[in-house]
């Protein structure tokens, strides 16, 4: 195979670069962090990112070549389940809207996992209607003073940084008065309290912001342009939740398929039919994600990505529900209700009961399935919008 463009990076070149990295940094002897930093500096972190920022401007689809080669060599990974919000949401937003300085400061430790990120978007009064949020940021010299309450903040207890959406102008309609910041979770005035979930764990938190000073150099995008920046985050979030590259039988369906194979005494014709239907749906969802990635090449996801999250949530819920049923008597038990503050966000970990309960969040987090259907209907299919009364009213005059 010959490459057409002189600058295009192909699979062979990537394998060569992986070999060179492994030759210089032997995963068997070098410590994990040193290896991850070297991998980032070699452009093998996320190959579709720019050179110098962990990538090589290569097609996104080639990432799997790098991952497979490194996994085969026993190299450590960056434990993506610990840093999902950083990888899936903060990073693409920093890449698109960050200044050169911000990108250089934040992306490397984000990718290596040295710094965990969380997302300070949702508030008690602003969930699906995120643009109505009320956390205030007031300019004070070369900083902003932020006060308000955030909720459902996953990983706030492990995070060093947050992406934060706050209101800088209450006098204009709600979408226009927002600004996007990077917030230091160790700054004075940030208080994180655990919020227990139906699984027993406290994966998410309440976060109180009490006159937290955020330097203006940690603003992402223009003042008042926060909604546009946030939309990039949200669209990436939906792909991050629903669109991971998986092998056939990767994820939840593989767990149930293995259970079926290993435990013939659990089999009934009705379960068999449901299992096969879900197996087909899971395989098609995998192909659909693969096709979307091939289409995206290096670009950013559009509203089409919402479809992947919608499909993922439905499948995760149905498959995990089937697993509990399939187990019969064992399905009546749960592993442990102890309140814990986990270090990772894990959809397929622990036991069947946990998987069943955790999957319920998949159709809520990152935009509910109802909101995603609205987005598909209006922005992909172009159906007429619902009549709206709130769009052109100054935020301060909205009914609350």
């Amino acid at each position: 195979m010959t490459t057409t463009a002189a600058t295009a990076v192909d699979a062979d070149e990537l394998r060569g670069r992986v070999s060179a990295l492994l030759a210089e940094y032997d995963p068997a002897t070098v410590d994990r962090l040193t290896f991850l930093r070297a991998r980032f500096d070699a452009g093998l972190a996320w190959v579709h990112y720019p050179r110098g920022l962990g990538g090589l401007d290569a097609p996104r689809a080639l990432q799997s070549v790098v991952d497979a080669a490194l996994e085969a060599a026993g190299a450590p990974d960056n434990d993506p389940r610990r840093i999902g919000i950083g990888l899936g949401m903060a990073a693409p937003t920093l890449l698109r809207f960050g200044t050169e300085r911000q990108r250089r400061r934040f992306l490397r430790p984000l990718w290596t996992g040295e710094e965990v990120w969380c997302q300070l978007f949702s508030e008690p009064g602003a969930g699906s209607d995120l643009a109505s949020l009320g956390t205030r940021a007031v300019r004070d010299g070369d900083a902003w003073v932020v006060t308000g309450q955030k909720v459902w903040t996953s990983s706030a207890h492990t995070a060093r940084w947050a992406i934060l959406l706050a209101r800088t102008d209450p006098e204009v309609p709600k979408h226009q008065g927002l600004t996007y910041f990077v917030c230091d979770m160790h700054a004075p005035g940030v208080e994180v309290r655990p919020l227990r979930q139906i699984t027993g764990e406290a994966e998410f938190n309440e976060v109180f912001l009490n006159e937290v000073r955020v330097p203006d150099e940690h603003r992402l995008g223009e003042v008042g342009d926060g909604w546009r920046v946030a939309r990039t985050t949200l669209m990436n979030e939906r792909v991050a939740i629903g669109g991971q590259a998986l092998p056939r039988e990767g994820g939840m369906i593989g767990i149930v398929a293995e259970l079926w194979r290993g435990r013939p005494e659990l089999r009934t014709p009705a379960l068999h039919d449901r299992l096969l239907r879900l197996w087909v749906d899971a395989e098609v969802a995998r192909l659909t994600g693969e096709r979307l990635r091939q289409q995206l090449a290096t670009g950013a996801p559009g509203p089409e990505g919402s479809g992947m999250k919608l499909a993922f949530a439905r499948l995760a819920q149905e498959i995990s529900g089937l697993e509990v049923e399939m187990l019969g008597e064992e399905g009546l038990r749960y592993d442990d209700w102890t309140l814990r503050r986990p270090q990772t966000v894990d959809f397929t970990g622990r036991g069947p009961g946990y998987r069943y309960l955790r999957a319920k969040g998949n159709s809520i987090e990152g935009g509910t399935s109802e909101i995603l259907r609205n987005i598909i209907a209006e922005r992909v299919l172009g159906l007429p919008a619902e009549p709206r009364t709130d769009k052109d009213v100054a935020w301060k005059d909205l009914p609350r």
């Binding site: 098609v284 192909l287 159906l383």
Partner: protein
């Protein structure tokens, strides 16, 4: 013990459309837009002459679609299942009453599996003749070799095959029959003495069925035991896999038509498409169409590359795409209200095709059952 499995990670599939494929699509699309509007198809069905042979000539000769799957050495274009799939998307989106799937895909694939069929293949590739594989349209890949027709030692055929799709416009029949030496494929000319045909009333007006009788019909043997079974199996697998692309085309037309109607039709002082209950239903249909596209492309790509995974990819595509097309058509009807129930509106042609396609080349349930064996999930 679990049976052998094909659960392997696959990252090598190209699920997009190449430039060549897109060019082919637009030529076919333009021709169909010009020559095959839904109203014209409906009018042909009313005249009981559903097959549009003039359109088929334009497609097969001018655009060369009849020879897509045929190697250049046999007078074809040496393209693959990927290109044929794109043609089927367009044909599905206009319920075109032409024998592309039955002749240029299924019968041609069967003939390509025979060693002595060079003449027949060349005539099909050029569009000079069309052929049909005489099995019921509902026959699934992996079915037992058909027993309805017997051959004697001289290759004379006797027996009956029902529900053969598109047989009414075929010049050549490719007949699976069992002879003294076992399974074989035979060539019979449509005008042969002893051949009889009944025309049952078909659910799908645009792909009419024929029941065929063989009463001591002289035939030419094309493949004997050894070649006949794999040739038939490959033809059925290819037919089932590429049918998914036709189903995708049907579903896409139904979705587009519904979206358009809901944007235009007003009730309660606003477009009905602004009601959320309907938007959400259409969002679900959209997701199914997007997913069906990935499944259909995967099947076409696996068939094109001769992948050992093709039986899995085909079973997945059929199990998924068949009900998607049916739901898209059923929802299209419901969301059109009363007009959707009228004979005058063409959407019933799509509903009937979608429902018949769900049975064609094996129902979704049969494909799931096949999958159970292929991926090691036994009952």
């Amino acid at each position: 013990m679990t049976p052998a499995r094909t659960v392997v990670p696959r990252t090598d599939q190209d699920l997009l459309y190449s430039e060549v494929e897109q060019d082919l699509r637009s030529s076919v699309h333009d021709l169909l837009a010009d020559r095959c509007p839904p109203a014209a198809v409906l009018a042909r069905c009313e005249d009981r002459t559903p097959h549009d042979l003039a359109l088929w000539r334009a497609l097969s000769r001018d655009l060369g679609v009849a020879g897509l799957l045929v190697p250049p050495a046999h007078g074809g274009h040496g393209a693959t299942a990927r290109e044929a799939a794109v043609v089927l998307e367009e044909l599905g989106a206009s319920v075109a009453p032409v024998p592309f799937l039955t002749s240029a895909v299924v019968a041609t694939t069967a003939l390509l599996g025979c060693s002595g069929a060079a003449d027949e293949i060349a005539r099909l590739a050029s569009g000079a003749a069309t052929a049909v594989l005489t099995v019921p349209l509902s026959t699934a890949p992996g079915s037992a070799f058909p027993q309805g027709v017997r051959a004697d030692a001289a290759g004379v055929l006797t027996g009956r095959v029902t529900s053969v799709g598109d047989a009414g416009c075929a010049d050549l029949l490719v007949v699976p029959a069992t002879g003294p030496r076992g399974p074989g494929l035979y060539a019979v000319h449509a005008g042969a003495r002893g051949l009889g045909a009944d025309l049952p009333v078909s659910l799908d007006l645009t792909r009419p069925l024929v029941d065929i009788h063989f009463d001591r019909v002289a035939a030419r043997p094309l493949a004997g035991p050894g070649a006949a079974e794999p040739a038939l199996a490959t033809a059925l697998l290819t037919g089932a896999g590429l049918l998914a692309s036709e189903q995708l085309g049907i579903a896409q037309w139904c979705l587009d038509t519904t979206v358009r109607h809901l944007g235009e039709r007003s009730q309660f002082g606003r477009p009905v498409g602004s009601f959320q209950a309907l938007k959400h239903r259409l969002a679900d249909r959209w997701l199914e169409v997007v997913s069906a596209r990935a499944a259909a492309r995967s099947a076409a790509d696996a068939l094109a590359s001769g992948s050992t995974d093709a039986p899995v990819a085909v079973a997945v595509a059929q199990a998924y795409c068949a009900p998607v097309a049916v739901r898209a058509a059923e929802e299209c009807l419901q969301l059109h209200g009363g007009i959707g129930m009228t004979w005058e509106h063409p959407l019933h042609l799509f509903l009937k095709r979608a429902k018949a396609d769900e049975v064609a080349f094996g129902t979704p349930g049969r494909h799931r059952a096949a999958l159970a064996g292929l991926v090691g999930l036994p009952a």
